[in-house]
Every structure is written in structure tokens, then in C-alpha cells.
């Protein structure tokens, strides 16, 4: 007997559910119609353009992507016949694309590795390197943290896990939470080689296994903003005003220097690195003109995005 009862109930439930579904569909339809009434977004500027005859494909470092976009937009405004498409994905991704011959320019926040150069040459591509900007790496903490200066040695000890409490570097009695970028990021490698290992090639120090590897710059800034125990590092362009930047000294006696365009250019801020563009072979035609523009007039855009312009030449292969 249960069987019949069950079936009947099931049917009525289905009918009712169908009714709910219809309600939902009608609501969605109304929503759609409503959205249709809203003013249409302005047509895409790029699709409207038909005069573009040259295309430059530019891909790579996420550190550089905003700067590369700004350059591309400005250059396309000056030279409407050139189209530049910029994508991120990371230094390794851009370099791999250049090795495979799918992009004209690869952006990188680190130098190409010997095995990458070998792979490119095996493909008949001889990469040429240009330094297009400098990037200061800022060490940041929560604004409420009383610590405002550290030496390179102290930062190295903190990230290697030898200093684990803020009281050991003149702060409150709190555990230190280490924030780092992921191990595939150019920033990670630079920080490991030049800060944790203090530039010593023989050193085999590594980041402490307790270090939190954040998948993005946003991950680091979110955690630094809300956690008074945290210490993080990232490109100066990614530091927001609600994080406290640490003044860094090479030697224990000081001077302790905050990162800025001036202190990077005069070399007094110790943690800065070059950012690169690589072309597949000696550039020619539009690519050559674009790179030349980036290295000269394009440099005016660099400080606006929190990076440091190169001085003089610097684009030597």
C-alpha cells in the first residue's frame, strides 16, 4: 500500500517543484529584460579600430603586467596603427611562450635561466634582454606593529625561521607569521637569493617551512592588513597605504632606508631588482620602435605605477 501513496505524493511534489522552477524562470526573464533596458555599454574601443596593421604580442610576469598595460595603452594612443596585446601569467609562462614563438616580447621579473636560454636556442630563437624598470621589494608589517626598522641579517633570520618572535627584534611578545609569494614567482627567487641567503651563492638556506606561500600579492596584503603577527614582502607597486613599510639597513649600525624612487636609484635601499623584457632575437620593425619608446619616453609612466625608472641607457643586451 505504501507504494501507491509514495508515488502519488512524489507526483504532486514534482508538479509543485515544476511550478517553482517556472517562477524562477519568469523572474530571470524579467531580470534580463530589465538589464536590456539599461543603457548599453559603450562599444569596445578596440573592435571599432580597423586601422591597426601591426600587432605586438606581449606576455609574462604578473609583477610587470600593470606597467606593461600602461605602456601598451599609451603607445597605442600615440601610434594607432599598432596593436599591442598584454597578458600576465608569470615570468615563466611568458618566457615559455617566447621560446615557443607565440609572443614577440616576454616580460620577466627575473633573468632567464640557462636551461630556458638553451631551450630557446634549440628552437632557433636567440633571446635579447632589456632592463625596462627597477622594482624595490618592500618588507611590510601590520600598522600596529611597533617594529619599524630591520637589518638584512634580521630579515634573513626571520624568514629562515631562526627568529620566531617579534620580541627578538624589539617588538611585542607575539609569534611571527611569515608570508611569502609562491615558489614559482620571480619575487620569491629574488628574495631568497638576495635577502634570505644575503647574496651568498654558497649558502643553502631556505625559507622556513612555516612560511605561508600566498598565491597572489592580494593574499599577502589582505593578511598583513588584518594580522598583527604577520610580516610580508612584495613589489613596492603592490604596497597599499594601510600596510606599514619597514626601513631596511645593510649593516646593523644603519642607515635604515625606506624604499622610494630616490633611494632605489642612489642604491641606498638594499632590496631592489631589475625587471626585464625579452625579445625573440634582435628586435626589428615595430617591436624595435616599441622597445626604444619604452626605454625612453615610456619611462615617464613608470613612477605612476610604483616602479622605479631606469636611468640613462640600461637596455643593453
Amino acid at each position: 500500500m505504501g507504494e501507491d501513496c509514495e508515488l502519488e505524493f512524489g507526483d504532486s511534489a514534482m508538479v509543485r517543484r515544476g511550478w517553482l522552477l517556472w517562477m524562477l524562470l519568469v523572474a530571470m526573464g524579467i531580470g534580463w529584460w530589465w538589464a536590456g533596458c539599461a543603457p548599453a555599454p559603450p562599444p569596445d574601443v578596440q573592435t571599432g579600430e580597423s586601422g591597426a596593421t601591426y600587432t605586438i604580442e606581449n606576455k609574462g610576469s604578473d609583477t610587470l603586467v600593470n606597467l606593461a598595460l600602461a605602456w601598451a595603452e599609451e603607445y597605442m594612443r600615440l601610434r594607432p596603427e599598432v596593436r599591442i596585446s598584454v597578458t600576465g601569467g608569470g615570468s615563466g609562462t611568458g618566457i615559455a611562450a617566447m621560446i615557443n614563438g607565440t609572443v614577440d616580447i616576454a616580460n620577466a621579473s627575473r633573468k632567464m635561466k640557462p636551461e630556458e636560454i638553451a631551450a630557446a636556442e634549440a628552437n632557433g630563437i636567440y633571446p635579447v634582454e632589456f632592463v625596462v624598470a627597477l622594482d624595490a621589494i618592500a618588507v611590510v608589517v601590520h600598522p600596529s606593529n611597533p617594529v619599524d626598522r630591520l637589518t638584512l641579517q634580521q630579515i634573513s633570520d626571520i624568514y629562515a625561521g631562526r627568529i620566531t618572535n617579534w620580541s627578538q627584534v624589539g617588538g611585542e611578545d607575539r609569534p611571527i607569521v611569515l608570508l611569502s609569494r609562491e615558489s614559482n614567482s620571480g619575487t620569491y627567487m629574488y628574495f631568497l637569493e638576495h635577502v634570505v641567503r644575503l647574496g651568498d651563492k654558497e649558502s643553502d638556506l631556505l625559507f622556513s617551512p612555516d612560511a605561508l606561500l600566498m598565491p597572489s600579492s592580494e593574499g599577502i596584503s589582505t593578511e598583513v592588513r588584518q594580522n598583527p603577527n604577520a610580516i610580508g614582502y612584495d613589489g613596492l607597486g603592490y604596497v597599499t597605504p594601510d600596510q606599514k613599510v619597514i626601513a631596511v639597513a645593510r649593516e646593523p649600525g644603519g642607515p635604515f632606508v625606506l624604499p622610494s624612487v630616490d633611494t632605489v636609484n642612489d642604491g641606498s635601499y638594499p632590496i631592489s631588482r631589475p625587471l626585464y623584457m625579452y625579445t625573440a632575437g634582435e628586435p626589428s620593425g615595430v617591436v624595435k620602435e616599441y622597445i626604444e619608446w619604452v626605454l625612453t619616453d615610456g619611462q615617464a609612466l613608470v613612477p605612476e605605477l610604483g616602479f622605479v625608472p631606469i636611468e640613462g641607457e640600461g637596455g643593453t643586451p
Binding site: G2, G92, P175, A211, L212, L213, T222
Partner: protein, 295 residues
Amino acid sequence: MHPRRWTEFAIESLIRVLGLSSIGFVLLIFLFLLKEGLPAFLQVPPENLLGTRWYPTFDLFGTLPLILGSLLVTATAISIALPLGVATAVFVREVAPGWAREVLKPMIEVLAGIPSVVLGFFGMTVLAPLVRETLDAPTGLTAFTGGLVLAYMALPTIISVAEDALDAVPKSYRDAGLAMGATQWQTIWRVVVPAARSGILTAVMLGMGRAIGETMAVMMVTGNAARMPTTIDSLFRPVRTMTATIAAEMGEVARGSTHYHVLFGIGIILFVITFVLNLVAAGAIFKKRRRGGLR
């Protein structure tokens, strides 16, 4: 042949081809996984692979912290989601009045559609500070936070499948229970839930599959520190899971390098773990069936 037969035949073979091709795709994916992952076990010595240090840029491929990290987060998620999920399913199917059920069930199914990145963002900005402050942990990005988010993600699956299992218990069981003088609670707890046991187990296995395979939310809230979760307080410390490792590192790894193969190797380990879990569950269900349980 009769024209009607022809269309019948065409439709039947179309369905057959589609059905077989899905099996074929799974097989191909598995073969690809083996092809890309097996070299890892040949290139990297086992004492390195089973080591406790994961520094892939320096050829230290210790997968132990990653495996333990995944297991810790998944176990936490299931131990939160199992009681909540089964209790909710019992409420929705057995206790709630009909109209409430009709509202609750679609709403629970909508929960399953929330993108994991949204939950991850919520976990990172809301849950993590809460966990840090209430537990006084150094950071809120912990295995426990990951477990909470995953429990939330596994809940809709568990509730929905467990509810279907309870639904399949014949009304006569309930009638019999009540006729014997049992209270509603006794009927539910002693008759209906045990009868739906195998379905509930399936629900938990599906939920666990969702939890162990989840990537984005976990990557955002667990902190991704490849430390060994061996101390007692490890639940409230950061961990790095297998899925987060693959997702974070695959994008930049050089194709064909040892690191690349090891990441696929981790994929194989993950596959084996989920396969064994499913096998155990299937075995348990099969045993129940032979004993004359439902389904």
C-alpha cells in the same frame, strides 16, 4: 527495414557511442596522468619523494607534508559536515512540514552552486580573522579554517544525497515503527536512518570527494605552508594540500622537467587515495546489501 526501426537504431547507437565515449575519456585522462606522472617515481629517489621537505625549486620533493595536509583538512571538514549534513537531511525529510521541505530542498541545492572562489574569498577575509581572534592562533589561515570552508562546500552534497536515501525508505517502515509504539525520534533514529545507511554512506563519500579535490578555496584559506602537521596544535596552523600545490605550481613549471612530472605524480597519489576511499565505501555498501539492507 521499417523507417521507424531506423530512427530507433540511430538513436540507440548514438546513446551507446556517447555512453562509451565518456568511459573512453576517463580512461584517456587516466593514461595521460600515468604518462606524465610515472616518470616522477623513476626520476626522484623514494627517500626524497617520501621526505618531509617540499622545496621544488631546489629539487626537494617531499610529498609527505602535502599528503598529511590534505588528509587533515579533509578529515576536519567531514567531521564537521557529517553530523550537520545527516541531521539536516533527517530534518528536511522526516520532521519539516511539506511546504518547508519544498522551500528548503531547492535552497540547499542552490548552495552547491556558489563558486568556490567566492567561498575562498569569504574564508580569507571574514573567517580567517575570526578564527585567529577566537582561538588566539598566530594566523587565521589554518587547516581548521580550510576544514570549515570545505565542510560548508560538502554540506549541500551530503544533505541532498542523504535526503534522497531517506526518501527511498518505504513508508511501511515508518508506519511499522510508529505502530509498535515507538516515538517519532525512535523511529527515525532506530529504523529509518539505519535503513538508509548505505545511501548516507554514499553521501559522505561524495562529500569527502568534493572536499579532498577542492582547490581554489583551500588555496586561499589554508596558508599553503608545507610544514609537517605532526604537533598537537597543527589543526590550528597553516598546511599545504596536494590540490593547492598542483594548482599553484603547475602554471609556471617548465614542461617536461622533474618538477612537472612530480606535480602529476601528486595527481596520481590523489587519484589513488580517492579511489581507495571509494572502494572502501563501495565494499561497505555491498556488504550491507548482502545482509538484506536497502539499496
